[in-house]
C-alpha cells in the first residue's frame, strides 16, 4: 500500500481529532487466484477484488461512513476532507473505545508460499485429482476448486497504523455420480489461513467421496422424529455456529433480537459444553490478527462448562450495552457496514474417544457432512442441513444412509442434551452470512459430540 497515502490520511485524521470523537480510516486490498475445473472445462480468474477505502466517523450519536474504491491519493485526500466537512458532531451519547494505538504489523505464517509454486504446477495437481475423480465408478461430473487469496488491511488512526496480511486457501472436491436416474454427490473440503500445505489430501479422500456418492444413490429419507445423534466435528461446528454463535452476536442485543441476552451468567447447556470463538486460532479459515475496528484478536469463551459467559461485540454494541469488548467487528468489504461477527467458533474438546461415542448409541444416526445452517436468535431455533448420516444400531454403524437430513430444534434443549464430547478436534472452511447477506470467511468445528435432536 502507498505509504504516502497512509501518511496523508493519518495527517487528516490528526487534524480533526479534537473536533471528531472517533474517526478512523481503513484501506483494503487483495490479490489472489481461483482455479475451477469440471469434467470438460477449466477456468482461471483472479480473486474477487476487495480493494477500497472506508472513512468511519462516529459523530457522538451515529456512524457516518464514506467508502470508495478509487484508490488515488489526491482523490482520497479530497474525499476525506469533503466527508469530514459534512459531519456534524453531536454531544456524545456513547463513547467508543479507541483503536489499538501505535504502529503494528502482522502476517500469516505459511509453510509453503503459494507464490513459490508455479501456476502450471498447481494446475497439474488439480488435473490429477480431477482425473482420479472422473475415472471413478458412475461419476458423471466433478467440481474442483482452488482459491488462494492474500488480503491486506491497513487500519489508520491518528495515533497509529495497524497492518495485517492474511493468506487464505480453500480447496473443494465434488464427485457427482449417477446411474441414469438422478444425480447424487459427495464432497471434500480443506483450507485455512496458511500456505499450500493446506491443500494436501488425507489418504483415501477422493476414493471416499466417490464411494459415498454411490452409496447415496441408494440412500433413504429418514422418518421425521427425535433421534440420538453423533455429530462429526463438522456437524458439531455447524451447531455451535448456528446455535450459540449468531445468537450471541450482540448487535442483535441492540435490536432486541437475541433471547440469549436474558441468560448471561446462567447455565444454558450441559456442563460438558464449552463454546469458544477465537479469531487468533492458528490456521483457522476465519482467523485474523486485528478485526475491522482495530481490536487485536483474542479468544472469547462464550459458554464455559454449560454457563453462558459472554457474547461477542463490535465497538458500538460494546459501548451502548456496556459489555466487555471482543475483537469481532467485521465487514464483508469496504462497501459494507461493520457488524458483530463470528470468526472460528467451536466446541472445546472433551475426554471421550469418538469410537466410544458411536458405540454408546443404541438406536440413532451418525451425522457426517453438513450443507448449511440458518440462525434464529430470537426464537432460539436452529436449522442445520446435513448432506448425509449413517444409521447406528446397537453401537455400530449399519449400511443404511439417510440423505438429506435437517436438524431443527430449540437451542437450549439441544445443548442441554449433549451427553458426550470427544477428545478429537477439527475446524472446517466456511463462509457465513448475517441473515442472507454480509458474507465473511469463518470456520467452525470442535470434537465429535453426542446429543438428541429432531431430524426431518
Amino acid at each position: 500500500m502507498d505509504q504516502s497515502l497512509i501518511d496523508a490520511i493519518r495527517t487528516i485524521l490528526g487534524d480533526v481529532k479534537a473536533r471528531v470523537p472517533y474517526v478512523v480510516g481503513t484501506l483494503f486490498s487483495n490479490r489472489g487466484l481461483n482455479i475451477d475445473l469440471d469434467r470438460k472445462d477449466e477456468r482461471l480468474s483472479s480473486a474477487p477484488s476487495n480493494m477500497g477505502f472506508v472513512l468511519s466517523i462516529f459523530n457522538g450519536e451515529h456512524f457516518e461512513e464514506f467508502a470508495s474504491d478509487i484508490i488515488d491519493k489526491d482523490h482520497l485526500v479530497g474525499f476525506c476532507r469533503a466527508a469530514l466537512n459534512t459531519v456534524e458532531v453531536k454531544e456524545p451519547r456513547h463513547v467508543l473505545s479507541p483503536p489499538a494505538g501505535g504502529d503494528q504489523s502482522f502476517k500469516t505464517v505459511e509453510k509453503i508460499d503459494p507464490a513459490s509454486v508455479s501456476l502450471q504446477e498447481k494446475m497439474d495437481v488439480l488435473r490429477e485429482r480431477r482425473s482420479r475423480i472422473i475415472n471413478g465408478k458412475n461419476v458423471v461430473n466433478c467440481a474442483i476448486s482452488y482459491s488462494e487469496e492474500s488480503s491486506t488491511k491497513t487500519f489508520i488512526s491518528h495515533d497509529g497504523v495497524i497492518n495485517e496480511e492474511i493468506r487464505r486457501i480453500s480447496h473443494y472436491l465434488v464427485a457427482y455420480v449417477s446411474k441414469g436416474n438422478g444425480v447424487k454427490y459427495d464432497y471434500f473440503s480443506t483450507g485455512g489461513t496458511g500456505g499450500l500445505e493446506l491443500i494436501e489430501l488425507p489418504d483415501g479422500a477422493i476414493d471416499e467421496i466417490i464411494t459415498t456418492g454411490n452409496q447415496l444413490l441408494e440412500s433413504e429419507h429418514i422418518e421425521a422424529g427425535f433421534y440420538d445423534v453423533v455429530g462429526t466435528p463438522e456437524i458439531a461446528g455447524l451447531i455451535a455456529h448456528e446455535a450459540f454463535g449468531h445468537g450471541v452476536e450482540t448487535d442483535m442485543y441492540l435490536q432486541d433480537r437475541a433471547r440469549s441476552r436474558d441468560y448471561l451468567g446462567k447455565n444454558i447447556a450441559s456442563p460438558l459444553v464449552s463454546i469458544i470463538d477465537d479469531p487468533s486460532l492458528p490456521g483457522g479459515y476465519g482467523s485474523y490478527f486485528v478485526d475491522d475496528e482495530g481490536n487485536i484478536a483474542q479468544a472469547t469463551y462464550i459458554i464455559k462448562n454449560g454457563k453462558f459467559i459472554r457474547g461477542l461485540t463490535h465497538k458500538y454494541a460494546s459501548a451502548v450495552l456496556g459489555l466487555p469488548s471482543t475483537a469481532n467487528g467485521r465487514r464483508e468489504s469496504f462497501a459494507r457496514k461493520i457488524y458483530t461477527r463470528m470468526s472460528n467458533t467451536f466446541f472445546k474438546p472433551g475426554t471421550d474417544e469418538p469410537d466410544d461415542i458411536i458405540a454408546s448409541v443404541d438406536n440413532g444416526v451418525y451425522l457426517i457432512k453438513g450443507l448449511s445452517g440458518m440462525e434464529d436468535p430470537k426464537g432460539w431455533g436452529i436449522q442445520v442441513l446435513v448432506l448425509y448420516g449413517k444409521e447406528i444400531k446397537n453401537g455400530r454403524i449399519t449400511g443404511r444412509l439417510f440423505s438429506p437430513l435437517g436438524i431443527t430444534g430449540y437451542v437450549p434443549d439441544l445443548l442441554k442434551s449433549v451427553s458426550l464430547v470427544g477428545k478429537d478436534f477439527k475446524v472446517d472452511v466456511g463462509i457465513c452470512g448475517k441473515g442472507h447477506k454480509e458474507y465473511v470467511p469463518v470456520s467452525s468445528g470442535g470434537p465429535h459430540i453426542k446429543t438428541r435432536v429432531r431430524l426431518g
Binding site: E42, S45, H62, V140, N141, K337
Partner: protein
C-alpha cells in the same frame, strides 16, 4: 477510459477480450429502533476483464481464458502478463463471443432515485409511520439505494451501456405480549420504489408478528404445503439448474426436449425465463455476453422445450443462445384447483434452498399457519421436506398473479403430501 483500456489489452495480442465497466453510487441507511445507527455512501468504479487466447491441437481450435478485476490504481500490465500466461495453460473447447451489438429496451430506472438522500428519508418516514401497533415495534431497518452504469466492450465490436437502479429494504419487527416476544424479519428487493409496496408489506408482516406470539410447533406427518410467491424462485431452482445448457453439456441435466416434466395434465404449468419484464430484478437490456434481454419458454404446459444457454454453452450444444436465466415466469394450468381445507400455509422459511442438483429440500418453518377447515393456527419450528421433482408431480397453482421482483406468476403454489417434521 474504455477505449484506452481496450487498446492496451489488444496490444497484448489476445485472440479476443471482453471488458465490463461498472460505475456505481450507493446510499445506505441503518435504523436502530427510533434512531439512526449508521449512514454510508459508497462510490465504486471497476473493470471486469476477460481475455482469450486460442490454440490449435490436431486441427481442433481450443480456447484459453482468464478473468480478472482491474481497478485503475493497480498495475494493468502485471495483470495482462499474468493473464497471457494463464491463457496459455487452458485449452477448453472453442466458443466465440457475440458479434452483433443488440439490446432490448427495458425499464430499470426509477427517476426518484436521482435524489437518493431524499428517498432514504421518505422510506424512513414510511417505516416509522407504518409500525404503529401496541403489540409490535420496529427493531431495525436497513435501506440500500444504488444506481449503476454498466458498459460492455468486446473485441468483436460490441459497445453497449445500461443504467439500472436497485432498492433493498430489510425490516425486523418485534411482537410483544406480556413477557413473550417474537421477531419477524423480511427483505424486499426491487428496481423502483412503488414496487416495494412498503406500507402494505409492513402491515402484512405486523399481522403475522402479532399472530406469531401464539405459535405452536407443527405435528409430524404428511401434509399439503402452500408456498407463497416470494419462495417460488427458490423452489424452482432445481428446475432452473437442470434446464441449463451447462447441465446438459456436462451430462447432469434430467431433461431433454419434449420430455414430459410432470405426469398429470392438471399440473401442466408453463415456465419461462424473461429478461424483459419492466423493473424485473433480473431484467437486462443485454447480459455479460452482449445477448439482448429476451423471453423464452422452457417448459410449455408440462413439456420441456429447450435448455437456456449462455453463448458458451450454446456454441457447445450447437443451438442459438437464449442468454442466462433471468426472471422466472410461471403460467398455471387452467384448471388447477386446490380443494383441501387441511394444510400448512408457510409465510417464511428460515432458509429455502433446495439442492439444485438432487432437488432435495429440507427447510425449517420460521413462521406459518396450520389451516384446518376455517381455523388458522400459527406455527413455528419443525421442517418441511420433499424432493422438488417428485413434489411437482402433484402441484397446484393459484390463478391470481403477482410480481415479486424476479418472479411473475401465481401468488401461491401448493405441493401435496410433503413430510413435516415437528412434534
Amino acid at each position: 477510459m474504455m477505449k484506452n483500456l481496450a487498446d492496451k489489452i489488444a496490444a497484448h495480442g489476445f485472440a479476443d477480450f471482453k471488458v465490463i465497466e461498472v460505475k456505481s453510487n450507493e446510499n445506505q441507511l441503518y435504523l436502530l429502533k427510533d434512531r439512526i445507527e449508521s449512514k454510508r455512501t459508497i462510490e465504486s468504479q471497476y473493470y471486469d476483464i476477460t481475455v482469450y487466447a486460442d490454440h490449435k491441437s490436431n486441427d481442433e481450435m481450443l480456447r484459453g481464458e482468464y478473468n480478472f478485476i482491474y481497478k485503475p490504481s493497480t498495475d494493468l500490465k502485471f495483470y495482462l502478463e499474468q493473464a497471457k500466461f494463464a491463457c496459455s495453460l487452458i485449452k477448453n473447447r472453442y466458443y466465440g463471443l457475440v458479434r452483433t451489438a443488440n439490446f432490448s429496451k427495458v425499464e430499470l430506472l426509477d427517476p426518484r432515485l436521482e435524489n437518493a438522500e431524499a428517498i432514504g428519508i421518505d422510506l424512513t418516514d414510511t417505516i416509522y409511520q407504518s409500525v404503529r401497533d401496541a403489540n409490535v415495534r420496529l427493531s431495525s431497518a436497513e435501506i440500500y439505494l444504488k444506481r449503476s452504469e454498466v458498459t460492455l466492450m468486446t473485441s468483436t465490436g460490441i459497445e453497449l451501456s445500461k443504467l439500472k437502479d436497485l432498492i433493498e429494504v430489510e425490516i425486523t419487527l418485534i411482537g410483544k405480549k406480556g413477557k413473550k416476544e417474537q421477531e419477524m424479519n423480511f427483505h424486499l428487493k426491487r428496481r423502483r420504489i412503488e414496487d416495494l409496496r412498503l406500507q402494505d408489506r409492513i402491515e402484512e408482516h405486523m399481522r403475522h408478528t402479532v399472530n406469531m406470539l401464539n405459535v405452536k410447533v407443527p405435528s409430524s406427518g404428511k401434509a399439503d404445503v402452500v408456498f407463497n410467491a416470494s419462495d417460488v424462485y427458490g423452489l424452482m431452482s432445481p428446475i432452473i439448474f437442470h434446464s441449463s445448457g451447462k447441465a446438459k453439456d456436462q451430462g447432469m441435466s434430467r431433461f431433454s426436449p419434449n420430455d414430459r416434466i410432470v405426469g398429470q395434465s392438471k399440473n401442466d404449468f408453463t415456465l419461462k425465463t424473461s429478461g424483459i419484464i419492466p423493473f424485473g430484478l433480473y431484467s437486462d437490456p443485454f447480459d455479460d455476453d452482449g445477448i439482448p434481454g429476451q423471453e423464452h419458454t422452457i417448459i410449455d404446459h408440462g413439456i420441456f422445450k429447450k435448455h437456456w444457454t449462455t453463448k458458451r454453452y450454446a456454441d457447445y450444444l450447437g443451438v442459438e443462445p437464449t442468454g442466462a436465466f433471468k426472471n422466472l415466469i410461471i403460467e398455471p394450468p387452467p384448471n388447477s384447483v386446490f380443494a383441501n381445507d387441511n394444510y400448512y400455509e408457510i409465510v417464511q422459511f428460515s432458509d429455502l434452498s433446495p439442492d439444485p442438483i438432487t432437488g432435495d429440500l429440507v427447510a425449517e418453518i420460521r413462521f406459518g399457519y396450520r389451516v384446518q377447515k376455517n381455523k388458522k393456527t400459527p406455527v413455528k419450528g419443525g421442517s418441511v421436506g420433499c424432493n422438488i421433482f417428485e413434489a411437482l408431480q402433484n402441484a397446484y397453482f393459484s390463478s391470481d398473479n403477482t410480481f415479486e421482483g424476479h418472479y411473475l406468476g401465481p401468488k401461491t403454489v401448493v405441493l401435496k403430501d410433503l413430510s413435516i417434521s415437528g412434534q
